[in-house]
């Protein structure tokens, strides 16, 4: 008998069995039923282990479809994409009733070195005879901006605590495990909404004994997770403790300057009271001063003040925690600077040229001449 990992053994066989994603399943099925060639692709997004791929596989089984699955990070250039999927989007399936394409982890595509990768994907979406499903952890990645408008975004939430526990309980019953209640609670908690990792943990504990005690949990290695910027923002905007806010950015894989822009962008997505907004921005303004002291003096000791003010300072600016879901946005500023990199460079060069001709600084040209003659000069 082949031993299957539990994550596969207990993978949903029908779309209705997918755990904790009722909303996503519903949107997805509606999309799938209405799909015709030329329509948008579906873009599943959410953190890992919440059932994005599972749902596609479940649909395949339910409707007897051939799933052509590929991982976007393996083929990143336009020509590679064309080579691998370009053909099959117009060919009929040999054995099954139909086909669907699953392109996983498109976050990995479209770096600087993969020029044209997204463009090719868009082309494929437009031309495909079969529905295409993409998955991403963060669909708001600016690299995916152009692609986004050709996709229906379907959000996957983290799997709820009780849904996790139910699922783990079910597996315990099927596998004949006896397990302290607290064990399952702890497993659910530490997975922070990632069902796959919870099942993996349970399986590895069960390998040693059919009876699992709370003390066994210590054997599990801590799964060090990189906190996403979204989690950090949530902490900063929801907590009232300065220290918690400060610590939240520690394991975020972005530098302080970039996190600063994320916080700046999202203050008004969370706070609603003018007093809170004014306070929060005042803190950012102070943090900005320290940021520039670091630059001017080349002295990194100021960094701690910058970070404390921009995290803790912004966190304590609110009166009460907002009990609402806030959609945090990617910073406009980074988007803008990326988008206009070339046009700004071009403008700067033209202004430098003009500055020689007109014997004044580019600043003065902007202020004195461009208001009158922008079209003539640039």
């Amino acid at each position: 008998m082949i031993i299957m990992p539990w994550t596969e053994k207990y993978t949903p066989q029908k779309t209705s069995e997918v755990v904790g994603q009722n909303k996503a399943v519903e949107i997805f099925l509606t999309w799938f039923r209405a799909w015709k060639p030329g329509k948008k692709a579906a873009l599943f997004h959410g953190s890992t282990g919440v059932g994005k791929t599972c749902l596609v596989e479940a649909l395949g089984k339910e409707k007897n479809l051939e799933i052509i699955e590929m991982n976007a990070s393996n083929f990143r250039t336009a020509s590679k994409i064309k080579e691998i999927i370009g053909q099959s989007i117009k060919q009929k399936s040999l054995f099954k009733k139909g086909k669907i394409f699953l392109i996983d982890e498109i976050d990995g595509i479209a770096g600087r070195e993969d020029r044209g990768g997204t463009r090719e994907l868009i082309k494929i979406i437009k031309e495909s005879y079969y529905p295409i499903i993409l998955t991403a952890n963060n669909p708001y990645n600016p690299k995916l901006r152009s692609l986004r408008s050709y996709c229906l975004l379907i959000p996957f939430t983290k799997v709820y605590y009780w849904a996790l526990i139910n699922r783990l309980n079910l597996i315990c019953q099927q596998e004949g495990l006896t397990c302290e209640k607290e064990v399952l609670r702890q497993l659910a908690k530490r997975s922070s909404g990632d069902l796959r990792s919870a099942i993996n943990d349970l399986e590895s504990l069960a390998r040693e004994s059919k009876q699992i005690k709370l003390t066994d949990l210590e054997k599990l290695g801590e799964r060090e997770k990189e906190t996403s910027i979204f989690d950090a923002l949530k902490m900063i905007f929801k907590t009232k403790t300065a220290l918690a806010a400060k610590l939240s950015i520690q394991s975020v894989d972005k530098d302080a300057d970039e996190i600063f822009l994320w916080i700046e962008q999202n203050i008004i997505n969370e706070y609603e009271e003018p007093e809170e907004i004014a306070k929060a921005y005042n803190m950012l303004s102070r943090a900005d001063i320290f940021r520039n002291r670091i630059k001017i003096r080349q002295n990194w000791k100021y960094k701690k003040y910058m970070i404390d003010l921009m995290t803790g300072g912004v966190a304590v600016a609110k009166k009460e925690m907002y009990r609402k879901f806030s959609r945090y946005q990617y910073p406009d500023r980074i988007k803008f600077l990326g988008r206009t990199k070339f046009s700004r460079k071009e403008e700067r060069e033209k202004l430098t040229e003009l500055s020689k001709k007109l014997h004044c600084s580019t600043k003065k040209i902007r202020k004195e001449f461009l208001p009158f003659f922008k079209a003539d000069l640039l």
Partner: protein, 319 residues
């Protein structure tokens, strides 16, 4: 298509003889030309009254036709860091002048944009290259130039131009371009240019693009189109409680139009008086504006500081 020609440049004096007024300065400069020797100079005075023009005219009179080869023009507000300035000066001053004048000329415009640290460094550079190069530093306020530099320079204060002086300049352009400016047009030019000849030229040229006959209405129209209404719109938005749109306006002004933070905050300060809020709140806002202006000077980045200032305006918004 012929290349677009900017009148402010076209009617710039080629020789000291053509400089409008500033007689007290011009006479001394002419004497330098005669002696074929000049000291380091510091030109101070408000915008658009002939400082850069006099420096360039001096260079032309001194070196003759090929003056550009012996003159280095630098703009302190564009050159990032004193090291760039020093590097360029060094490269330039290292070689000997090819004309019969022994030294080359370095014109450093907007010198008040240099920090005092940078000015200290500049002072050494000036000393080191005195034998091969002379400096003309140009600034709006001589008080922003450190004493050791001032004491090494002959200081020239450029005067405000009278209405008569400005009329002389306008006539020069009007004649050259065959325009007609009526009385209302003339007084509009006086009023809107605030004594700045560069602005006179720009207003004239922009008005003339609508026709050769220039009236007050046309000048005002052109000036209002060029005047950024954005600041007022931005403040109106934020006082209506619409911070998001106000923030977008700000982003647009700084990131797309490339306006300087100091200019925007200056305009904000001006606008506060005409806002629809109580007198007491106006004063509170002026206090806040001053504080954020200070933070920008302290090295804060314009966008963050102005955005934070806008958030303070939000406190006085009516939803």
């Amino acid at each position: 298509m012929p290349e677009f020609e900017v009148w402010a440049e076209k009617y710039r004096p080629r020789s000291l003889k053509e400089v409008i007024n500033q007689k007290h300065v011009v006479e001394r400069l002419k004497a330098f030309v005669k002696e074929k020797n000049i000291p380091h100079c510091l030109f101070a005075g408000r915008a658009g009254i002939g400082k850069t023009a006099s420096a360039l005219a001096l260079a032309n009179d001194l070196y003759g036709k090929g003056w550009k080869a012996t003159v280095l023009e630098l703009n302190a507000s564009d050159e990032r860091g004193i090291n760039v300035v020093r590097g360029k000066i060094k490269d330039f001053a290292r070689t000997k002048s090819i004309s019969d004048i022994r030294f080359k000329l370095i014109i450093l415009d907007e010198a008040d944009a240099l920090t005092s640290d940078a000015q200290q460094a500049l002072r050494r550079t000036m000393e080191n290259y005195t034998r091969t190069a002379r400096f003309i530093l140009i600034c709006n306020y001589s008080s922003k130039i450190i004493d050791p530099i001032q004491s090494r320079c002959a200081v020239f204060r450029f005067k405000r131009l009278s209405e008569k002086d400005r009329k002389e300049y306008i006539d020069r352009v009007v004649k050259g371009e065959k325009l007609g400016v009526d009385k209302t047009g003339m007084s509009a030019l006086f009023e809107l240019s605030e004594g700045d000849l560069r602005r006179v030229a720009n207003l004239l040229q922009a008005s003339a693009s609508l026709g050769k006959k220039i009236t007050g209405d046309i000048v005002y129209d052109v000036a209002s189109r060029a005047k950024p209404k954005d600041v007022k719109d931005m403040l109106d938005l934020v006082l209506k409680g619409n911070f998001k749109s106000a923030r977008e306006k700000l982003n647009d002004m700084i990131l797309i139009q490339g306006l300087a933070g100091e200019d925007i905050i200056k305009e904000i300060h001006k606008q506060i008086y005409s806002l629809n809020i109580s007198e007491e709140n106006k004063i509170k806002l002026i206090d806040k504006t001053g504080e954020y202006d200070f933070r920008i000077t302290e090295g804060g980045s314009a966008l963050i500081q102005l955005e934070s200032l806008l958030a303070q305006f939000l406190l006085f918004s009516k939803k």
